[in-house]
């Protein structure tokens, strides 16, 4: 099965990249854009067929390495 992890800075943490991208979009005329956040996506394959078990393992990976809980939040997707 495939795991997809989305990692973003937490809401209270200033996302300077997001701000810069937003300001560039405004410059291109998309003035209605607001709240841009730049994060990262990490994808990988896993063995095993139990999606709930896979999710538990991926959450542990997020806590240990893939995200820094001090500044980042994450969202895990598990697909067959």
């Amino acid at each position: 099965m495939k795991a997809v992890v989305h990692v973003f800075l937490k809401p209270g943490v200033l996302d300077v990249q997001g701000k810069a991208v937003q300001s560039a979009l405004h410059g291109l005329g998309w003035s209605d854009v607001d709240g841009v956040r730049v994060g990262r996506v990490i994808e990988f394959d896993m063995t095993g067929a139990d999606a709930a078990d896979a999710r538990t393992r991926v959450e542990a990976m997020c806590q240990r390495l893939l995200a820094n809980p001090v500044i980042e939040g994450y969202r895990v997707e598990i697909a067959a």
Binding site: L9, G12, V13, L14, V16, Q17, A20, L65, L66, N68, V70, I71
Partner: protein, 220 residues
């Protein structure tokens, strides 16, 4: 004093640190590879140097924090050995949990490389005692992710417990409360973004960095 400098793939201030410590304190400095699983016996000071360990992949300091040698560094820190993380070393100490907070992208999205004036907020640590009555120091910074961040409660605790050691007089990167360097509650683990290893003799523009290494030597 016996000092050790840890070398990660991508460290680029490791030799600067070695020379700075040798010239400041006439100490023996051993270079320790990140895959090593033991530190020199009787080591008094461990330095995690600046650079871009593991290419800053994932997050700055994240991969280095998982290096085999870091288990030894953590064990030494818990025994009370002095540990100093400079720049990337500070980022690694935060990632490994020896210091609170994290270092974010600089507020202006720019790599900042310049001389900075610092207030010595706590002059009574193992790393600052040799500054004596001197309340300010001059060092240089060189970082793209030097913007210190911690939640408000952590910042209040750091301030209240005397754990803020250095503060920028003019904030170069958006750091919370202009914090440039912090220490752990036990007082033996210091992280700072400015480089004492680039300010250890007058020819470099400042010799204040030497006082940091001399402070540790005096406490060893």
């Amino acid at each position: 004093m016996k000092a050790a400098v840890v070398v990660f793939p991508g460290s680029n201030c490791d030799r600067d640190c070695k020379v700075a410590i040798e010239r400041s304190t006439a100490s023996t400095v051993t270079m320790v590879w990140h895959q090593d699983t033991e530190l020199p016996p009787g080591v008094d000071l461990i330095v995690l140097p600046g650079g871009f360990s593991y290419g800053d992949y994932l997050r700055c300091g994240a991969m280095a924090a998982l290096s085999p040698v870091m288990a030894e560094v953590k064990a030494a820190a818990s025994r009370g050995v002095a540990v100093a993380g400079i720049c990337n070393g500070f980022q690694i100490l935060c990632e490994v949990g020896l210091l609170p907070g994290a270092l974010l992208r600089n507020a202006a999205l720019k790599y900042v490389c310049k001389t900075v004036d610092l207030d010595i907020v706590n002059g009574q640590t193992r790393f600052t005692a040799a500054f004596g009555d001197q309340r300010q120091a001059v060092m240089t910074v060189g970082n793209g992710e030097g913007n210190f961040f911690a939640d408000e409660a952590t910042l209040d605790r750091l301030e209240g417990e005397g754990q803020v050691v250095f503060r920028y007089r003019t904030n170069p990167n958006g750091s919370s409360r202009a914090i440039a360097g912090i220490i752990n509650p036990a007082g033996n683990v210091l992280g700072l973004m400015p480089h004492p290893d680039r300010a250890f003799e007058a020819e470099l523009g400042s010799s204040d960095g030497a006082l940091l290494f001399q402070s540790v030597m005096a406490s060893a």
